[in-house]
C-alpha cells in the first residue's frame, strides 16, 4: 500500500487541459479509458476515473461523508477532513452531500419494498433499509435467491448494496455494515457467534459508550459477552446492554413498518350493464357514500375526485370534480357529480364504476359554536362556488382585487372565488370602464388644466356643466419606453344631460413629449 501523505504526483501542465483553438474536444479523464477499450467491463473505478468524495460542513470543518471506491483505494475514508483529502489526492472531485435527497431515495425504496417484497419494511438510519422477511421469502425462491434478486435490482438502479439476513434486526444491521460481504445469511440461533468478531461500533452505540469501550480495551462485540451485566451497564451505559441483548435476540426489537398513503377509493362492479341516468346516479350515490365513510375514518377532506366508468366495449368515461374547500359532505358531492352525469356517454352500457379521491386534505371536525348554531353566522360560500363552477367554466367565477398600479385599467386583477381582497384608494372612479378609451371629437378646452367645455362622443354633442380635475396619472416607465414621459390628465365632467363622464387628455399641456393633447373617454359614473 502506498504510504499516505508522502504521495507526490506531478500536476498536469495547466495549459494542456484547455480546449484547443481548432475546436477539438478537451481530453476528459472520465471517458477515455472505457471508450478506448470496449472489451473491459464497466465498473465504478473506470466509470468515474476521477476519485470523488462527498463532503458536509460541520461547524468550521468540512468532513468527508462518503467516498467512491476509487477514492477509498487511494486511502480516503469517511470522517476525514476535506482539506486533508485534497492535499492527498490532486484531482479529487469534491461535491456537497445531499442528505435530504439520500433520505428521499431511501423513503422511496422503503415504499417500493412495502409494495413488492414484504409488508414490514422501514428505513434504518441514514443508509439502510430493514425488511421483515418472516413468511415472505419463500415467495421469491428462498432467502439466498431473494438476496441475489435484490442486489441485481439495486444494481440496475445504480446502487451498490450489502445484505445480511439474521434472526434479529440488530445482528442484521451489524453484519450488513461491518460484515464485509455482499450477502450474509445467518442461521437461526447463531446471531451471537456471527457478530462476535465485529467491532463494537456495529452495535449502534452512542459515541460516549464507544469512547469508554476503547478506553477499557473492548474492541470486538465478543469481548462484551463475558462481562457481567451489572459492571457492563455501569461502564458503558444501560443502552449498551440493551443493544447487545437486542442483537442477540434476548430483547425484542420490533420494526415499525412504513405505511404507504393509499388514495381513498371506492368501486362498484355491476351485474348488468347500466345506461340510464337514474341508474348511474344511484351507483354514484353508493360510491360517494363508500368514499365519504373512508374519508371520515381517516379524517380527510376531498379536494378533487375522478369518476371512471368502464364501458362494455372496453372504453373508459372519466368525469372529474373539484371542490373549493376540503369537504366530505356526501350530499354536496352527490349533487356535484349529478350535475355532470350528462357528460357520461354510456354507449352499450357501463359495467363498472370507480370513484377515487385524487387530492385530499386534512379535515378535522369543527368545534361547535357556543350558541349551538342558533345565532347568526356568516354563510359558507364553498358549496355554492363548487356548484356554480359546474354550470360555468372555472375561470368564470372570480373576485376582483387590488393590483398596485395607478393606471386605471391595470389596477384590478381577478382572484380566486374564495379570496378576500382589499380595496382601492378613495379617488373617484367610474362604475363602468370602456374596454378601450374612445377618442372624442371637437373638444373645446382651456389648456393646461381645465376640463373641456364641449365635446362630441359617438356622434352626440355634449355641453359640460361642471367638471373636476385634473387627476394626473403618469405612465409606468418600468413597463415600456413609450410610457417613460407619458401623462394622462383625468377629469370628471357632468354634461347638460346629467350624465357624468371620466375623460382624459394625453399630455400635461405644457411639455410636448408627455402626449399629443388628444382627448379620450374612459369610463362612466352613474
Amino acid at each position: 500500500m502506498r504510504e499516505m501523505g508522502r504521495r507526490s504526483e506531478h500536476a498536469d501542465h495547466p495549459f494542456r487541459t484547455l480546449p484547443g483553438d481548432d475546436g477539438a474536444r478537451a481530453p476528459s479523464a472520465m471517458t477515455m479509458s472505457t471508450s478506448s477499450r470496449p472489451d473491459q467491463r464497466l465498473t465504478w473505478a473506470n466509470l468515474w476515473g476521477n476519485p470523488m468524495v462527498l463532503i458536509a460542513r460541520t461547524g468550521q470543518k468540512e468532513v468527508i461523508t462518503s467516498a467512491c471506491p476509487v477514492a477509498i483505494s487511494l486511502g480516503l475514508h469517511p470522517g476525514m477532513a476535506a482539506a486533508h483529502a485534497r492535499a492527498l489526492v490532486a484531482d479529487l472531485d469534491v461535491r456537497d452531500a445531499q442528505p435530504e435527497a439520500d433520505q428521499a431515495w431511501l423513503d422511496r425504496l422503503a415504499l417500493h419494498a412495502v409494495g413488492r417484497w414484504t409488508p414490514g419494511a422501514a428505513v434504518a438510519g441514514s443508509d439502510g433499509l430493514w425488511l421483515d422477511l418472516t413468511g415472505s421469502s419463500h415467495l421469491f425462491g428462498g432467502e439466498e435467491r431473494f438476496c441475489r434478486r435484490l442486489l441485481r435490482f439495486l444494481e440496475r438502479l445504480g446502487f451498490s448494496a450489502r445484505i445480511a439476513i439474521a434472526g434479529t434486526p440488530g445482528a442484521a444491521h451489524a453484519l450488513a455494515r461491518y460484515g464485509g460481504e455482499a450477502i450474509t445469511l445467518v442461521e437461526p440461533g447463531r446471531e451471537a457467534q456471527a457478530i462476535a468478531g465485529l467491532p463494537v461500533a456495529a452495535l449502534r452505540l452512542a459515541p460516549s459508550a464507544l469512547e469508554a469501550a476503547a478506553r477499557f480495551g473492548l474492541e470486538r462485540v465478543g469481548d462484551l459477552y463475558g462481562i457481567a451485566r451489572g459492571p457492563l451497564a455501569r461502564r458503558l451505559g444501560l443502552a449498551t446492554v440493551q443493544r447487545l441483548d437486542q442483537a442477540r435476540g434476548i430483547v425484542a426489537e420490533p420494526i415499525i413498518p412504513v405505511v404507504p398513503f393509499e388514495q381513498p377509493h371506492a368501486e362498484r362492479r355491476l351485474l348488468e350493464p347500466i345506461g340510464t341516468a337514474e341508474a348511474i346516479n344511484q351507483v354514484i350515490g353508493d360510491l360517494v357514500d363508500d368514499l365519504v365513510a373512508q374519508l371520515q375514518e381517516r379524517r380527510l377532506g376531498l379536494r378533487s375526485a375522478l369518476l371512471t366508468c368502464l364501458v362494455v366495449d372496453g372504453g373508459e368515461q372519466r368525469v372529474g370534480i373539484g371542490t373549493a374547500r376540503a369537504s366530505r359532505d356526501a350530499k354536496h358531492l352527490k349533487r356535484m357529480l349529478a350535475m355532470r352525469v350528462d357528460r357520461i356517454d354510456p354507449g352499450l352500457g357501463i359495467e363498472a364504476m370507480t370513484l377515487s379521491a385524487q387530492r385530499v386534505e386534512d379535515l378535522q371536525p369543527d368545534a361547535m359554536r357556543a350558541d349551538l348554531g342558533t345565532g347568526d353566522s356568516t354563510p359558507d360560500l364553498a358549496p355554492l362556488v363548487d356548484q356554480l363552477t359546474g354550470r360555468i367554466d372555472s375561470q368564470g367565477l372570480f373576485r376582483v382585487g387590488l393590483k398596485e398600479s395607478d393606471v386605471p385599467e391595470r389596477a384590478t386583477r381577478r382572484l380566486e372565488p374564495l379570496a378576500t381582497p382589499t380595496g382601492w384608494p378613495g379617488w373617484k372612479r367610474p362604475a363602468r370602464l370602456l374596454a378601450r378609451p374612445e377618442p372624442l371629437d371637437r373638444v373645446v378646452a382651456l389648456l393646461p388644466d381645465r376640463p373641456p367645455r364641449r365635446f362630441v362622443w359617438r356622434g352626440t354633442a355634449y355641453r359640460v356643466i361642471s367638471g373636476e380635475g385634473p387627476e394626473r396619472i403618469h405612465g409606468e416607465w418600468w413597463r415600456s419606453a413609450r410610457e417613460m414621459w407619458a401623462v394622462r390628465d383625468y377629469f370628471m365632467v357632468e354634461a347638460h344631460t346629467g350624465e357624468r363622464f371620466w375623460l382624459f387628455r394625453r399630455g400635461d399641456g405644457v411639455q410636448a413629449d408627455t402626449g399629443d393633447l388628444s382627448w379620450y373617454l374612459h369610463g362612466l359614473f352613474g
Binding site: Q387, G396, P430, A431, E494, T497
Partner: protein, 257 residues
Amino acid sequence: MPQPAALPAVSRKKLATLRAELAGVRSLRGPFLSFDVPMLDDRMAAGGIDGAGLHEIAAASSRLGDDAAASLFAAGIAARFASKPGFTVLWALSRFDLYAPGLEQVGLGPSQLLYAQGKNDQEVLAVTEDALRDGSLACVIAEVKAADMTATRRLQLAASDGKTPLLLYRRHRSRDQCPLTTNSSAMTRWRIGCVPSLPPPHPGVGRPRWSVELVRQRGGNPFSLDLDACDDKGSLSNPSLSVDRTAAPAGAASRAA
C-alpha cells in the same frame, strides 16, 4: 292637507300589535330593506324592497350614462343588503365591463362581491337560479338582455324559496325600445336615469342625481321621483333643496374646478 286627528288609545295599541305581527310575518318571509327615504318608502306598497323576490332594474335610455346609473342603483341596494360583515353579493353577467373601484364607492367592497361570468344569457340565468336557491348570498344581481315570462317566473320562485333578493338588471337590446315593456312576474320594476345635479356651494361637481321611476309594483301605483344618488354606504336621499337649475345659467364656467 289637514292633519289626521290623534288616534284613541285603544286603537293605537291595536295598531302597535298589528305592526308587530306584520314585522313577524315579514321576518319569516326573508330579509326586508327600506330605502330610509320617506318620500320613496311611503309610496311603495310594501314600504321597501322585499328581500325574497325579483326586482327588475333598467336604464331610462340606451345611453351609457344612464346604464352606469342603473347599475350603481342596483349595487347600492345590494350593498345595503350585504352590510353585515361576511355577507356576499353575486353579480352574474355575460359581458364584464364593471369597474370594481367604482362599485366600492357605493359600499360594495371587493371582499363582498363575487362575479360569475357566463357565455350567454342562458348560462347567466342558470347560475342565478342556482345561487338564489342556495340561500347563502345576501343578494344576487343578474345582468341579462332577454328574460321572458317563464324565466322571470322561475327566478321569482327561486328567490322566494331561497329567501334571497334578486335584482335583475335588464340591458337595452335596441336604441329605442325599453326592456321593461315585456311581461314579467317581478315584484317591482325600476327605471333609472341621470338628471342634472344641483349646483353645490363650492366649485366642482355636486352629488349626482337620478330620476327614479317605479314603473310597476305589486299592490301599488307607479310613481317617479328625482333623488340624490347613492352615497358611500349605498343609501339614496332626498334632494337637499329644490332649486330650479335654469335660475343659474351663468354658473357653467365658474363651476369648473
